[in-house]
């Protein structure tokens, strides 16, 4: 079996994209009105994530976070965020049941919690709790980035004040070529990093690299990932505006 060519000499990737093209993004907000205060669904290529946000509301006490409950003191005058993620067993090609306390998933929940504790204006909602639930329906690379983007959208939908969208994107380094927004095949084949920025700024909320890479390769990857983040912000912002306009047209007083 011949292996698919990750990056052809003509500059095309497996799925026909150029190096600087992100996968097709489809997103929607306010998708689960009954079960949540804010909800979103995002598809980045074949990666698909649903996010529900409940809150801010009265703290439920024990904390349901996948990150092992809330040890933080209640007198902390900030909002309590809990993040819970479910990775569907059918989300990968080989059906596999992940246990709820899978270290990787728990780490992701913790990461997302830390990101949004900073992005959400938590001091405006003292003594309250925001519960974020994520459902990963399909994985084709970039699960973390899709989750972060989904949470951003759902929080905006819930009307929770935040400084800006947090938008995330991956970038990989194939030989000497930077590739933006990797799919699963590409992720398995090259070092890549996930980055999340606060809106269209140079401020980085998250940067994660899990594979070995030469330090000289780091800068181009970071630059590419950042431009990807900024592009995703535009896409998400457009969707929020579109939704807002249609809502306003109907609700208008």
């Amino acid at each position: 079996m011949s292996r698919p060519e990750i990056y052809s000499p003509e500059g095309l990737r497996i799925d026909g994209r150029r190096w600087n093209e992100v996968r097709h993004v489809r997103c929607a907000i306010n998708t689960h009105q009954a079960s949540s205060d804010g909800s979103s669904i995002i598809e980045q290529g074949n990666t698909k994530v649903i996010c529900n946000v409940v809150g801010p509301g009265e703290p439920t006490g024990g904390g349901v976070g996948g990150s092992g409950g809330n040890q933080r003191a209640k007198d902390d005058n900030r909002v309590i965020l809990t993040v819970k993620a479910v990775v569907a067993p059918f989300s990968t090609i080989d059906r596999r049941k992940r246990s709820g306390n899978d270290n990787r998933v728990q780490e992701m929940c913790l990461t997302i919690q830390h990101i949004f504790e900073e992005a959400v204006m938590g001091h405006l909602q003292p003594r309250s709790q925001i519960e974020i639930s994520l459902y990963v329906l399909s994985q084709d690379g970039g699960m973390l980035q899709a989750c972060i983007n989904a949470v951003s959208l759902a929080l905006v939908d819930a009307g929770i004040p935040m400084y800006d969208y947090v938008c995330a994107c991956t970038a990989g380094m194939y030989d000497k070529e930077v590739l933006l927004d990797l799919n699963r095949l590409e992720e398995n084949d090259m070092p890549f990093l996930t980055m999340a920025t606060l809106g269209a700024t140079r401020k980085v909320a998250l940067m994660q690299l899990e594979t070995r890479v030469g330090i000289d390769r780091l800068e181009p990857m970071m630059a590419a990932a950042m431009s990807g983040c900024h592009h995703l912000r535009d896409v998400m912002d457009a969707e929020v505006r579109k939704h807002g306009k249609s809502r306003l047209a109907r609700t208008g007083v």
């Binding site: 990150s67 092992g68 040890q71 003191a73 270290n103 990787r104 728990q106 780490e107 913790l110 990461t111 997302i112 919690q113 830390h114 990101i115 949004f116 504790e117 900073e118 204006m121 001091h123 400084y163 990093l193 920025t197 606060l198 700024t201 140079r202 401020k203 980085v204 909320a205 998250l206 940067m207 994660q208 690299l209 899990e210 594979t211 070995r212 890479v213 030469g214 330090i215 000289d216 780091l218 800068e219 970071m222 950042m226």
Partner: protein, 327 residues
């Protein structure tokens, strides 16, 4: 200071204010590490005691012959167990994983195991049947900040120090058996360590919070983030964010972990990775020096020197056998 206690608002203000004047409470410079001491057990291979300031970590490497995993017939097994017991600090509960512990164990895992610091293919004895299971048990004995950095260094140093027992394969065909020679019989062999990952944690402080306590972010102002290397426990409790970078002497980055908290300019992060490489070089140099010193004390009467030469030949034979197995 007990790590389960939250520092008071005044302590917080004091530390931040000092940082605006480029002073750390222990009078180090921002990029200076605490005193690092690495010592090895005099009786056993693969036992290392790392002290970083008052933080203390002991790592013990052990190995046993076991069954290969069916999905990876050419790979040996390498496990790192990082359970933080209440011995390190009373905040850690035995048996229950705290957030901090989760992060530490995941980063050590990514730094060393996922970056292929230990060549797991060399741990394979008989493809698909027998392989080595190398285990690194990390014990955190005292917590004064920097558990992650100390733990990662300790595992790296211990892997370099460890010698596994020599083996030989007896019999042919289906009746092949692996014989493990006790250390007293044959000279044990070192593990094949491909690179030495060193994890460096950078702590970020938002200096804008030093003067006024309001929560507003100033996106236009120049970056006012103080970056501290090797934070002490108090600094760890007060910091607004951190990034852990694992680097090695080949100018490679093995892992970066910056998860949320304070947002930091991309340029700052990039310069941190460069600083990490410099620290990694320094630490690796120290590890190598200590290893050499340890070697010298062990071979004080040179009784193993002759055996060593013979032993290398045996290793070569073993390689050849494995090559044949693969085919």
């Amino acid at each position: 200071m007990a790590p389960n206690l939250k520092p008071s608002a005044l302590e917080n203000a004091f530390v931040l204010k000092a940082l605006t004047e480029n002073v750390r409470l222990d009078n180090r410079s921002f990029s200076q590490m605490r005193n690092l001491d690495i010592s090895f057990s005099s009786t056993e291979y693969g036992v290392v005691d790392v002290r970083l300031g008052r933080t203390r970590v002991i790592v013990r490497i052990s190995a046993e012959v076991t069954q290969c995993r069916s999905d990876r017939p050419y790979d040996g097994l390498f496990l790192i167990s990082t359970e933080i017991s209440p011995m390190a600090a009373p905040t850690f509960e035995a048996g229950r994983k705290s957030e901090e512990e989760l992060v530490i164990s995941r980063i050590i895992e990514k730094s060393i195991r996922q970056s292929q610091a230990l060549d797991t293919e060399s741990l394979c004895i008989l493809a698909g049947e027998k392989c080595w299971l190398v285990r690194a048990d990390v014990h955190f004995l005292d917590h004064d900040g920097g558990l992650l950095d100390a733990g990662c260094m300790a595992v790296s140093a211990a892997l370099l120090h460890y010698r596994r027992p020599e083996i030989s394969i007896v019999g042919t065909g289906n009746k092949r058996e692996v014989v493990v020679h006790p250390v007293t019989e044959k000279v044990p062999v070192p593990l094949s360590v491909l690179h030495v990952p060193v994890c460096v944690t950078f702590s970020f402080f938002n200096m804008k919070l030093a003067d006024n306590d309001d929560e507003e972010m100033d996106t236009d102002a120049p970056d006012q983030t103080a970056v501290l290397v090797d934070a002490s426990l108090q600094e760890e409790l007060l910091r607004h964010g951190f990034m852990a970078v694992t680097a090695n002497t080949n100018k490679e980055i093995c892992q970066i972990y910056k998860a949320g908290q304070l947002v930091v300019e991309i340029e700052t992060l990039l310069s941190c990775t460069e600083a990490a490489v410099a620290v990694a070089e320094k630490v690796t140099k120290l590890i190598k020096r200590r290893l050499k010193e340890d070697e010298a004390t062990r071979n004080v009467d040179n009784i193993f020197e002759e055996a060593r030469a013979e032993n290398t030949r045996l290793v070569a034979d073993e390689e050849a056998i494995r090559e044949m197995d693969k085919e």
